[in-house]
Structures are given as C-alpha cells and as structure tokens.
C-alpha cells in the first residue's frame, strides 16, 4: 500500500496545477490509503482538501512545505500527528510568513526544532548543505524520513545516491514520493504554463525551467510498487508516517473571544442584561409581549449554542462606532434577531416586521451565526484598528480572500506564456466577457483564426486556469477573533495593505470548520448619510439621524414613483429606475420588496411579473389557506424571500425549522439540481397531506428554484430599505446637501459625478464651480447672506426647503494635492486672491497644482488660457527666491479665445463635469439635423413610434439574467433615456457599444406605463467636434 506524502496543490501559487479536490478525488480513485497536502508555506487549501476527503472517505494528512531561512535555503515537509503538532505547524507558518514581506517566507531551523512536538519531519530532497539538517533531525526522534522520488529524470540516480547516503549515515528511513504537482499527467501543460508565468518567461524560452516530463503526478500503489520494487521499505514507510498522522480538522477547537465582564457576570447574564436595557430604549412605551417572548426564545438558543460572547463582541464594536460618531447598521440575516435589534446592532424590528429568526440561527443548523455590520466606508479603518488594538494581533486577524484567475486574466497570462503578441493578446482578452469562459466564439469575435493552434491552446489552457487561485487578498471586512491564539488555529500572514494581517483561509473555509467571523463592512451610503446630516446641521441647525428622519413621507414616495432616484441607495440602477414607476412604492414594506425584487433570484424564479400583475390588480390574489395568507400575504402570494420559502415548508409541508433551513441551503447549493428532487418530493407530499392542491405545492416549489440564484433575505432587504428611505428623504428635501455628500463619497454608486450634478441641477440646486476663493477640499454648501431661517423651514410642509448653493470642492480637480488645498485655505483667511501671481506668492504651491487649478477655471483670472499664461510668467517658483511668484510687467498678449466645445472638454478633463453645458448640447444642432430627439422628448412618445436619440453613455449593463440583452443609460442635456439592445444587435454593434462614449441610437419606442425604452435597431458612434456643433 502507499500514501502520497509530498503533494502540492494549486495553493502553492503558480506552482501546483491541480485543485485540492482534484488531488483527493484522484488519490481515492487510485486506491491510496491517504494523501498529505503539503503546499508551500501555507495551509491555504487544507480545508477544501479536508472536505473533499471526508466526502470520499479518504484520510487526509495535514502538512506543509516550509522554506528554510537563508542562507541554508531548501525546504522540509512537516506532517501533523496531533492537535499539538497542528498548533505548532500553524505557529511556524505564521512566524515564517509574518517575518517576511507578502509572498515570501523563511523559518530558522532552531524554531522548527523548538516546535517539533506532534510533527513528522520529511526531507523530500536533500539540500546541498545536508549536514546542517542533522541538528534539526535530532529534535524529531524517530519521526524523520528521507524522501526519494523516481520521476524518470536523468538526475534520479544522483539524487537517490545522495538521499541514501544521508539516510544511511544518520539511520533515517527512506520514503517514496512523487513530488506531486498535478493530479494526472495531462495537467502538465498547465503546470508548464504556470512555471512560465511564475518565472516571467514563455514556455518556449523556459527550457530546463520546466520539468522534463509529466511524472510529478499522483501514481497508484501498483505503479509505485513497480517503480520501487527494489525498495519496498520506502513504500512501507509512507504508510507508517500516514498512520502516525491522525489529526483531522474535525478535531480543531475554537472559542470566540471573551469580553471583559462585570464582576459576577457570565457572558450570558451580561448579554441578557444588555438586551433588557436595550429593549427599554427601543420600546420606551412598553415592551410588547411577543417581543419579550421572542427575546427569551433567542436568549435560550444563544445560551444553548454558546454564542453569547459573539453577540457581546458585536455589541462592543457597534458601541465603539457610536461613541466615535461613526454611522453603522447591521445587515443580512442578523436583522432577523430581536437580540441584535435590542443591542442596536440592527435597526429593523424583526418582531414588528414578522421576520424569521431561524434564518439567522438554528439549533439544527451546524453553522455559526453571521452578523454583518456596515460602517461609513471612509471611517471603517478606525473600527478595524480598534479590533486589532483590543484583541491583539495574535488573537485577531482579517479573513483572506483567495483571488482566482478569471477568464480574461487567464487568457492574458496563458497567452503571454505561449508567446502570443501583445496586441493579439490584448484583442483576445478584451473580447472575453467578464462572466463567460474563453471559447472559440471569443477568438472569432476578436477576429482571430481558430485554425491557429496557438490560439486553440491558449483558449483550452485558459479554461483550465480559470478559477485557480492566484494570490491571497483581504476579504472586504471579515475578522476572525479568537480566545486562544488565532495563529495556533490557522496560519496568519501579512496582508498587502499596511497594518493588516490575514489568516490563510477564506470565509467558506472558516465557516466549514465552524470558526466564527465578524464582518465589518464599509458602506459608502452611510458615509453619504452621515455627511448629509452634518451639512444640514451646519447650514440649518437642524439635527437629523436615521432614527429621526420622518417616516412614511408621501412626497418621498411620490418622487420614487416617478423613477426619480439617481443617487438613492440601491434603487438608482437602470433596472430599479424602470421598476419604480411600475411597482409604485407607497410604504416602507414596498421599499423592502423594491430592493429585493430586482435580483437574479426573483428574476430567474419568474416572480417579478406575477407580483406586478397582482399589485396592479390585473391578476387576482388567492391563498389556499389562512396560514399561507399569513406567510405570503405581504408579497401578494408570490414567494419573494428565502424566509417565505422556509416558512411555507414549515407551515404548508410540515418541515421542521432545521429541515426548512436545509431546504434553503440546498436551494443555494451549487449542486442544487441534484439535491432538490428529494426536497421537492418531501414538500409536495407534505403539502398534499395537509390538504393543499398538488398544483399549488408544485408551483410554490418551482418558484423556490429562483433562490438558487442570488437574492436578498427579507431581513437584509428590510435593513437596506431603511437606508433607501432615508437617502430618498434627504434627496427629496435636501438635494444640495445630499449631492455634496455624494460627491465627497465618490467613487460609489452607479453614476459619474457629472450625472449626479446634472441631476441636482434638475432639482433646482444652484451648483457653483470650483474656485480658489471659495472652495474647500470637499464640496460644501453656501448661503448667500440670507438668514438661516429661510433654509431651515421644516420639510414636513410637503415641499423642499430652500436650498443653499452647492460649491464644488477641489477634490474634483484631477491630480490636485490635498496639501496644496490646505495651503490655499490657510492663505485665503487673510483675504481673497486678486491675481494668479498673488495666489502663487501667498500659497507657495507647485506649478503643477497651479496649472491644474488654471485648467479647472479655479484661479482668479478672466479665462483659463490667460491664467496659464500668467503662471508661465511667474518664473521658476522657487520658494527661496526673493521674487517668488512676482509677475513681470509687460504688455498683455492676445491669446486665442477658447470655444465652448474646448471649455466643456477641458472641464471634463479637469473636473469630470462641466457646469457650462452638457456635451450633448454642443452637438444638438447636428443631432437635430439628423432628426434625433432629446431624452425628454422621448418620454412623451407613443409606444411603437420610431425614434432616434443621441447622448452620452453613462451606464452599460449586460446582466446574466437578461438572456443576452444589453441596457444602456444614455444622458443628454434634458435627462436620461434607456436603450434596450437585443443580443443580435449587440453582436452587430459591439464595437460601438463597448468603445464609444457618445452614441446615436435608432429604434422603436417601448412604453409600459411611465417606463419608456428605446428598443435599438441601429447604433452609431458620434464624434464631439466643432463641425458637429
């Protein structure tokens, strides 16, 4: 028998060419007893291999290759025997990684010797300085083995002689291995490509950098016996090592960090007291009995599962954020928990909303709870550093993300390795869509010949490479916090960002081995809300918060019903803007549905149109029972949320809470097709047994299938809907402040700054340009000598308050240094700037920044060219020069005047927007000559009318759920129009759609109530030129 002990997966980045799961499956198929995964300086793929091995019933040995510190160099393999050995291996890998920059590793022999307990030492290849390994081996009495690999290379004999000499001298046993890099021989070409990528060369130049054959692969016991017929003891040794290594990840023990507790408290009692205090604040007029009931139920379950510490930690983080004035709110399934609501982690009352707690936490579900909290994105780092400071680097680390090759990058890298010319490669890669595999179609689209064998090979290898891990990145906000050292559970290494350390596992790996993570996410809209509140307070004196914004304001809903939602959280996308006039939200719950309905889940489950028909009264709403009405009543009989599927399963088909949760997970499993038939049978059978009609049961279950695609849980949608409402309210009543905050929070959302500013202007906001005399780094509001009273009349009167003017900030000026702006603000205190020279003299900012200001029109000068001319006259701008910044006396020279087109183009170049004119307004005469109408005129046209419209493409979308349809949002000086492009036309006009900023579309109007689209039949690019205007 035989066990492979030296095996690299593709988590030895750019070296191994097989997934851990592939290695496990192949080892099982070959009849091996066990397999060790020994990737380079990490346990990145261990969980995946562990899960695959468990599924196959194969024993998986945990191990790693450790790079030895220079000058010794070389590598040794350590395999884990016991829990102590596992902790030692994790600590060694952590030490090795943390002492080196990202991507590098090295550990001194002495430290390995100090942490030898519970580990087997394997020397797969004898290093040149073999004797220096002797002291290390002494630390592993009876646990050292010397490896020999017979990979049918010329060097085999030489290597064998060295290994045998070393082993005989020190009386170590020999073990056989294959130095595995692939799970089967036909993966060798990809391994060669990875080598070429890693070495920065091409396969044909790589020569002996590549392996000379494909023998570094998994081989079965029979093949190994034939290879090592003269050394059967070397095969036997693999089994001895394998039998000594009994540790499994199932034995891993993890405890969440304990909070400091008041004297005499346990985590549970302290949590209960915090919850009861919180309830007092949440329900000042008395706690409803159903809330008390729910809280008790939740606390019982939390105690039973031992998660009190986890909730306390989350409460602590949120409390810290609130103390610092950082806006935050829980999202996701945590909003189903009344405890989270009481602790002010979430903002939605789950009892009042009727949310399902089991979606968050269930006894039957062997899965930790998942609390995600959003913080203002520009201040999230403060919270992250608080976590590190509180728990220490050894007890807290961020979750990593295994960044994998996507199709486009795979094509690029494989193409480079195969020596495709850069221009060909560029062309091929550009034609690979984000979510599709590289195929012969791709090559044809790129104008390449599919008869070219290199192109065919590139495509085939790119498909293999796609999905393989490339490097480690940092998860958006996941944190592992542990009572025992994190570094004894999973190795930690340096992140690419300064001051960040990350664990080697991603969120799925952590979840699979029941390690809790907390998600500290950044949400741009919270930054916008926070800043808008501050601006309102500054300009009007009125204080608002998310809790005090007046609820259910009909004017806000009126605005949303018109599809007027640019900048509003979650409902500003093209699809949402089209949905708003059809769904016509009139209440908070309508917003919950609005947020949830435009998702792949409901769209693929074909739930959108039935819901809209029932809402508009075109289709009757019928419920087979009162129990079903209670579950589906709010969504008019259409199951839009996973919670509803779970409840239906429990109420209509008799599922337990745990079974219902298993159904939910089966629905979103990647092998849903295989898992669902059993559930379907159980559901339909259960429903019929409870007196429901078969058609109803089958119809319900079929609509559940949509949940296998991405969708929001109801609680999550409700959390987001609150932000939707607050942002819409602010847009409705304080558009100037809202727009200023949006500009400062960029980049975020769907739209570029020019679209946001155009929208604000359409809402009556006066927008003022960047000015050296008035602007700050961020955009700000200006009140022109009028008393605050005029701006602070309460919005509840039903119309917007008087708006201050919006002064654009210097941050919009491309490339301008913030430090220069601080100097300008400092110098401005002693009076306005009269000339460019004076500004230069008083601020002493660089010529480059002066030029940027001149180009943006921010300098005190009649026009930009004169400003540039004056800057050139300032001499060398040496701060030590006595005459620094003094202009010379001379006659004024006449420079050519800028045309309107030049000014607008320069505006866009310098500040990404123009207040002078919309670019499309400049070519309006040409568009009119071509009989093109404006976006505004398009809205008034009847269904089926042929029309032409030209404008600036602001959003391009080709959602996977749209069956190849492409949607463009096209803006002109009057508004935004939607272009809908069929797949055949997309292929015909692909070049124009993907490359041209200005398009002229020709087609027919498609009108559904207030939603108007132009269904495109022809597209052409428009040039922005003086001639066109």
């Amino acid at each position: 028998m035989y066990a492979e002990l030296v095996c690299r997966s593709n988590y030895s980045f750019l070296t191994g060419a097989s997934h851990p799961e592939e290695l496990v499956a192949r080892a099982h198929a070959l009849g091996m007893e066990a397999i060790a995964l020994t990737d380079d300086d990490g346990l990145y793929g261990t969980v995946k291999a562990h899960l695959a091995a468990k599924e196959k019933g194969l024993r998986m040995i945990i191990g790693a290759r450790l790079t030895l510190e220079a000058p010794l160099g070389g590598q040794v393999v350590l395999c884990v025997e016991s829990a102590a050995g596992y902790a030692n291996l994790c600590e060694l890998l952590t030490t090795s990684r943390l002492r080196h920059p990202k991507g590098e590793a090295g550990v001194p022999l002495g430290e390995i010797a100090d942490r030898a307990e519970g580990l087997q030492l394997l020397i797969p290849k004898i290093p040149h300085s073999a004797q220096s390994l002797a002291p290390l081996c002494e630390a592993f009495p009876g646990r050292v083995s010397v490896g020999i690999a017979r990979t049918l290379e010329a060097k085999d004999t030489h290597r064998f002689q060295r290994a045998r000499a070393f082993a005989e001298k020190h009386r170590f046993p020999l073990f056989a291995h294959n130095d595995v890099h692939t799970h089967q021989r036909d993966r060798q070409p990809l391994q060669d490509v990875l080598t070429a990528i890693r070495r920065g060369t091409t396969v044909d130049r790589a020569g002996t950098l590549l392996f000379s054959n494909a023998e570094r692969t998994l081989k079965g016991p029979a093949e190994m016996l034939a290879l090592f017929s003269d050394l059967p003891e070397a095969l036997e040794r693999t089994m001895q090592v394998a039998s000594a290594c009994r540790f499994s990840l199932d034995d891993l023990r993890y405890e969440f960090s304990r909070e400091a507790l008041p004297q005499g408290s346990t985590p549970q009692t302290y949590l209960a007291s915090l919850v009861h205090n919180g309830l007092g604040r949440r329900y000042p007029v008395g706690i409803p009995p159903e809330v008390t009931q729910q809280i008790e139920r939740e606390l019982r379950l939390i105690e039973e599962l031992g998660y009190a510490g986890y909730f306390l930690s989350m409460w602590d983080l949120v409390a810290f954020a609130r103390r610092r004035g950082i806006l935050c709110q829980g999202r996701g399934s945590a909003a189903n928990s009344a405890v989270c609501y009481a602790l002010e982690i979430t903002s939605i009352d789950p009892v009042r909303m009727g949310l399902l707690f089991e979606r968050f936490l269930s006894k039957d579900r062997n899965e930790p709870p998942d609390i995600d909290v959003d913080f203002e994105h520009q201040r999230r780092e403060e919270v992250i550093q608080y976590v590190y400071a509180k728990h220490g680097r050894s007890h807290a680390a961020m979750v990593s993300e295994h960044v994998c090759f996507r199709s486009r990058l795979a094509v690029r890298e494989v193409g480079k390795a195969l020596g495709l010319s850069l221009d060909t490669l560029d062309r091929l890669a550009k034609h690979v869509d984000f979510n599709e595999e590289a195929s012969t179609e791709t090559a044809l689209r790129a104008g390449l010949s599919i008869a070219d064998p290199t192109v065919v090979k590139v495509l085939a290898l790119a498909r293999q490479l796609s999905g393989m891990p490339r490097h480690l990145s940092i998860h958006v906000g996941g944190f592992v916090i542990s009572d025992n050292r994190v570094s004894s559970i999973v190795p930690i290494e340096n992140g690419s960002m300064k001051h960040r350390t990350v664990v080697q596992w991603d969120k799925d790996d952590l979840s699979a081995v029941n390690i809790l993570k907390v998600d500290l996410l950044g949400l741009g809209m919270l930054t916008v809300l926070s800043r808008t509140f501050r601006l309102i307070e500054k300009t009007t004196g009125q204080k608002f918060s998310m809790a005090t914004v007046p609820p259910e304001d009909s004017a806000v809903y009126d605005m949303l019903c018109e599809g007027d939602a640019i900048g509003v959280f979650q409902v500003e996308s093209r699809a949402q803007l089209s949905m708003l006039p059809r769904l016509r939200p009139r209440s908070f719950y309508d917003l919950v549905i609005e947020v949830a309905i435009i998702r792949p889940g409901p769209i693929v489950g074909q739930m959108v149109h039935p819901y809209l028909r029932r809402r508009s009264g075109e289709e009757p709403v019928v419920f087979p029972s009162e129990a079903v009405r209670e579950i589906l009543g709010r969504t008019l009989g259409v199951p839009l949320f996973q919670e509803q599927a779970m409840r239906l399963a429990m109420v209509a088909a008799g599922f337990s809470a745990g079974e219902a949760d298993r159904l939910r997970r089966a629905l979103s499993h990647k092998r849903a097709d295989q898992l669902l038939p059993t559930f379907r049978e159980r559901f339909v059978g259960g429903a019929i047994a409870r007196g429901y009609h078969r058609d109803f049961a089958e119809g319900c279950f079929d609509s559940f299938k949509g949940f296998s695609h991405y969708g929001f849980p109801e609680s999550h949608a409700a959390s987001f809907a609150l932000i939707v409402y607050v942002s819409a309210w602010l847009k409705r009543y304080y558009p100037a402040a809202f727009c200023a905050a949006l500009l400062d929070a960029q980049p975020m959302g769907f739209y570029a700054v020019h679209t946001l500013v155009e929208d604000a202007r359409r809402h009556g906001v006066e927008v003022r340009p960047v000015s050296a005399d008035a602007s700050g780094w961020e955009s700000r509001l200006e009140i022109d000598g009028t008393s605050l009273e005029a701006y602070s009349s309460h919005p509840s009167e039903g119309h917007p308050v008087r708006q201050p003017a919006l002064r654009l900030g210097f941050e919009l000026v491309r490339g301008l240094q913030e430090s220069s702006v601080r100097k300008i603000e400092e110098a401005r205190r002693s009076g306005p700037f009269r000339t460019v020279g004076e500004l230069a003299q008083r601020t002493r900012i660089s010529r480059a920044d002066l030029t940027r200001l001149a180009l943006s029109g921010a300098l005190p000068c009649p026009d930009r060219r004169t400003a540039l001319w004056d800057i050139h006259a300032l001499g060398p701008l040496d701060p030590h020069d006595l005459f620094f910044g003094l202009p010379m006396a001379e006659d004024r020279s006449e420079l050519p005047q800028m045309s309107r087109l030049e000014r607008v183009t320069l505006d866009y170049d310098a500040t990404q927007l123009s207040l002078e004119a919309h670019p499309v307004a400049l070519i309006r005469p040409a568009l009119q000559r071509g009989k093109a109408v404006t976006a505004e005129a398009l809205l008034a046209m009847a269904d089926g009318t042929p029309a032409r419209m030209g404008g600036l493409v602001i959003v391009r979308q080709r959602p996977p759920t749209a069956r190849g349809f492409t949607f463009l949002s096209v803006e002109d000086e009057t508004g935004i129009a939607n272009f809908v492009i069929e797949p055949k036309h997309f292929l015909q006009f692909r070049q124009e759609i993907t490359m041209s900023p200005l398009l002229l579309g020709e087609g027919r109007i498609e009108r559904r109530s207030k939603v108007v689209n132009l269904k495109i039949q022809r597209l052409s690019a428009i040039a922005l030129s003086e001639q066109a205007s």
């Binding site: 010329a154 030489h158 044909d204 002996t208 590549l210 195969l418 221009d423 790129a446 020279s893 050519p896």
Partner: protein
C-alpha cells in the same frame, strides 16, 4: 512604402501595410491606399488591422533601413549639390547652392525630382531649414520661398515645431495656450515668450517668424566599405579576375588600415555577362587587413568556383569589420602570422560549406537534439609563441556572437543547465535521431538491435529516462535507454511514445 512598391511592382494596388514594434506592441506604421480604403490606419495595432482584413499583406518596417535608403537616395543626389542632410525617414534637405547651373531653383528642383525615379515627393526651396521643412510637410508643393517663408508660415500647424525642433513635450505648453498655428505663435510678443519659456520660447518665436539660424549639416557618408572593379572585357579565366580582385583588395585594405579597422567578413560579388551575379562570402578566422593574406584567402575561395558565364565586374564588400587588433610580432614571426591555418580553414569552408565550421554550444533544453546549438568557430589566435592549448582556452572564454544571450524581459529568470543531467548525456550526440531496427522479447524487453547491417545483441540496458514536452509546437514523448550492444559499445537509444519505434540518439565513448 514607396520603395517597396518600386522594388516589387506587383504590390501596387494591393492592401499592404508596414508594421513596427512600439513599446512591445506591433502597430501599423504605413498603410497603402488600398489598405486605407478598408479602414487600416497608421497607429492601429497589427492585430486590429488583420482583424479588419485577414488577407492584408504585411511587411515589417525597419526605421533604420528606411533611413539608410533615404541616405542612399541623398548620396545618389549628390550630383545636384555638394551635400545633403536627411530628415528622419521622410525627407531630405539638399544644398541648392548649385541651382543656378540649372537656370533656376525650380528647374533644379524638378531635375532632382526626375532623378528620384518615380518616387512621389513634395519640394520647397527656401533659405531656412525650418521654413522649407514646415512648408513641405504642410503639403505645399513645388514652392520657392524667400526669407521668412514669404509669410506663408502663418497658416502652418504648430505640429511643424515638434519633430526635430522642439519635441512634442516642449510644444505642449503652446498648445495648452490654445495656439494651433505658427502665425498665432508669431503674434505673441517674443519677449513675453522668452520670459516664460526661456530658450524654448525664443526658438519657437524665431522659428514661427521664419528666422532659422541653423545650418545644413551634411550627413556623414555610409561606413560601408565596398569597392567595385569593372573588368575591361568579360573574363573566362581566373587570372584577369584575380588581377581585378587585387585592385579591389589593395583599395579595401588601404581604407581599412587608414581607419585602423580589420575585416571580419567579406563578400565578393561576381557580376556575370548574363546579368547574373555570383556571391561568395568569406568569414575570416580572425580580423585582418593585410593585403597579401586577404588576397591569398580570396584567391583560394575563387579557385574552386565554377561560373557559367564570363565575369564582367567584381565587387568586394567588407560586410563586417572591427578595430584592428594590435599584435606585437615576436622575433622571426612573419607578417602573415598563422596564414597556414587561415588558409586551411578557408579551404574547409570552401569544401564543406560555410556552415560546416562551428562550435557546439550547450543549450538549456530538454529535447536532446535541441540541447546544443551552433556557434561561430573561433580558432586560436595566431603566433608561434603561443601554445595551442593556451589559445584554445582563450577562444573558449571569448563569447561567440551567435550565442550571446537574448535580452531578458523584466523579472524573467533564465533557464540553466545542471551538471547532473549533462553527466548522463553521451559524448557523441547525433545531429538528429536515426531509426534503428530492434527486436523485443515476448515481455516487451529489448533484446537486439541492427547496427551497420548486423544484428547486435543487447548485453545490458539502463533506463528509462522519460523526456516529454514542447506540447506547444512539435511535442515529443520518449523513453531513453543506455544500451550496451554486443561489439558496438554503449548506445543512447529511445523509444518514441508516438510510434513505439526505437531511435538512436548518440554513442558513449
């Protein structure tokens, strides 16, 4: 493009593009009118152009060759003026001081045009270099302009300042000020420009006003050393050819010695009576300029040559030369040094071909027949005092040009050879594997092989070593064995994974 069309008239009217590499990307440098009609433009990537029209003809554009051709054109026009200066790859300035001999500048320019043999061109005759260039580039055809361009510069685009004068970066500030023509630039106060842009401002202001003080700087003549001797009558015997050759060698040798250069590679072109040419190359074993030796070597090369027609002219060209190596002769050493060896090598080349003389250079490749490459053979330096062994060591140390490493891209790691693998290779490796008839027993073990018409028993076998790879081109899969053959010795054979047959690859001494 014009040169190409002129050399190959069949290309006229066809979609043709010239491409060159620009920052690692192949781009279109020039497109023929037919190519332009299908949308191919200068500057677009080659892949994009080919995607537009797969059948478009492609030729690499090598700037150096174009410049050389332009200089050759300039040289050919020297009869119209004492000197010329080339302007990139697009234009020439010719000294028009002899124009009066043609009656007028216009007549002179037209005569120049006629001499250009059908090439399309524009010409401007003027007093300043910048003015003539700017006007010619701005599509002015056939003009004779007075001082300051007769005011015709005003409408010329500011681009005229860029190439060869200010550079695009230096001209950028003028564009940022909204200036688009030389006239607008000339309209600004020179003092204001100087105070703002210093010397650049002064130069720009003067050029825009047509004030160019720069002188015509004659292009140096090409460094090619070439001598042609016309024979008085077509020669059918070697003797008159050698006589003419001696004249050529005398001149070349003199010129080489005058420049302190030595020839490395020579080419003799024998122009035959039937408008044909025979070219003979001579790669010298060491750089030399001695006329006697050169003539001796050339004589040896020509002695064995047979030509079918009489020879009418002979051209001797030094294709490669280098600084002459200084060599202190020892007492009794002859001027021609190791002439005997040089003669032997020359004869070997003549007999076996130029490629027959080489040094095998190890290459870091797994495929055995690709694991070495030919490099130029460098014999020991001449001199009776030096031992052969010493010189051999020196010649090994000198890196032959053919094996110079390619320039590596950033981050690239070069492959290396390892001694352990080299130690297992046979001392005599065949240039290509050769099929060998073999006999196997029932178990598939090799028992005998046919060598030199006889069946030889396999006495011992060692292996296999498996070598596979190069799947991206002509992939291979082989199992190598070291086989001890009865009466032959140790042979390196492999069984090809594709056809299952045995091939011999080398012999162990």
């Amino acid at each position: 493009m014009q040169r190409l069309m002129r050399d190959q008239p069949s290309l006229c009217g066809r979609a043709l593009l010239l491409h060159h590499k620009e920052r690692g990307v192949e781009r279109v440098a020039f497109a023929s009118p037919a190519a332009r009609r299908i949308g191919i433009r200068s500057g677009m990537t080659l892949a994009a152009a080919v995607a537009l029209e797969g059948s478009v003809l492609r030729q690499p554009s090598i700037r150096a060759h174009d410049a050389e051709a332009l200089r050759a054109l300039g040289e050919s026009l020297l009869k119209f003026g004492p000197m010329f200066q080339s302007d990139g790859v697009e234009g020439l300035w010719l000294d028009a001081s002899a124009a009066h001999l043609w009656g007028s500048e216009m007549a002179w320019a037209q005569a120049v045009g006629t001499a250009c043999e059908g090439l399309q061109f524009r010409f401007v005759v003027g007093s300043e270099r910048f003015t003539t260039q700017a006007l010619a580039k701005s599509r002015v055809q056939g003009a004779v302009v007075g001082p300051r361009g007769d005011g015709r510069l005003a409408a010329v685009s500011l681009e005229a300042l860029e190439e060869g004068w200010l550079g695009a970066q230096e001209a950028q500030p003028f564009r940022a000020l909204g200036l688009s023509t030389l006239g607008e630039l000339a309209g600004l106060s020179p003092g204001a420009l100087v105070s703002r842009f210093g010397t650049i401002g002064r130069l720009a202001s003067r050029l825009a006003r047509g004030e160019d003080e720069s002188l015509l700087v004659a292009d140096p003549l090409p460094a090619t050393l070439e001598e042609t001797v016309q024979l008085d009558w077509p020669a059918e015997q070697l003797e008159p050819v050698l006589f003419a050759l001696k004249r050529a060698v005398d001149r070349i040798s003199g010129r080489l010695q005058g420049r302190q250069q030595a020839a490395v590679r020579l080419r003799i072109t024998l122009m035959l009576d039937a408008a044909e040419a025979v070219r003979v190359r001579l790669l010298l074993s060491r750089p030399m300029s001695e006329r006697r030796l050169l003539l001796e070597l050339l004589r040896h090369r020509l002695t064995d040559l047979t030509v079918e027609h009489p020879i009418v002219a002979i051209t001797l060209k030094v294709e490669e030369h280098c600084p002459a190596p200084a060599h202190q002769r020892t007492f009794g050493e002859r001027e021609d040094g190791g002439a005997a060896l040089d003669v032997v090598l020359s004869r070997l080349q003549s007999t076996l071909g130029e490629e027959a003389l080489f040094t095998a250079q190890p290459q870091p490749r797994h495929r055995p027949e690709a694991s070495w490459s030919k490099a130029r053979f460098s014999p020991p330096e001449a001199g009776p005092a030096a031992s052969f062994e010493m010189d051999f060591k020196k010649s090994k140390a000198a890196k032959p040009a053919a094996s110079w490493p390619r320039r590596k891209s950033k981050g690239e790691v070069a492959p290396t050879l390892d001694d352990e693998t080299m130690g297992t290779r046979p001392s005599r490796l065949f240039q290509a594997p050769c099929f060998i008839n073999s006999q196997m027993d029932a178990a598939g073990a090799l028992v005998a092989m046919d060598v030199a018409g006889r069946r030889r028993r396999v006495e011992a076998i060692q292996g296999p070593e498996r070598v596979t790879g190069e799947w991206w081109s002509r992939g291979y899969a082989r199992d190598y064995y070291r086989v001890q053959l009865e009466g032959v010795g140790s042979v390196w054979v492999f069984r090809d994974g594709r056809d299952g047959l045995f091939y011999a690859q080398g012999v162990f001494d």
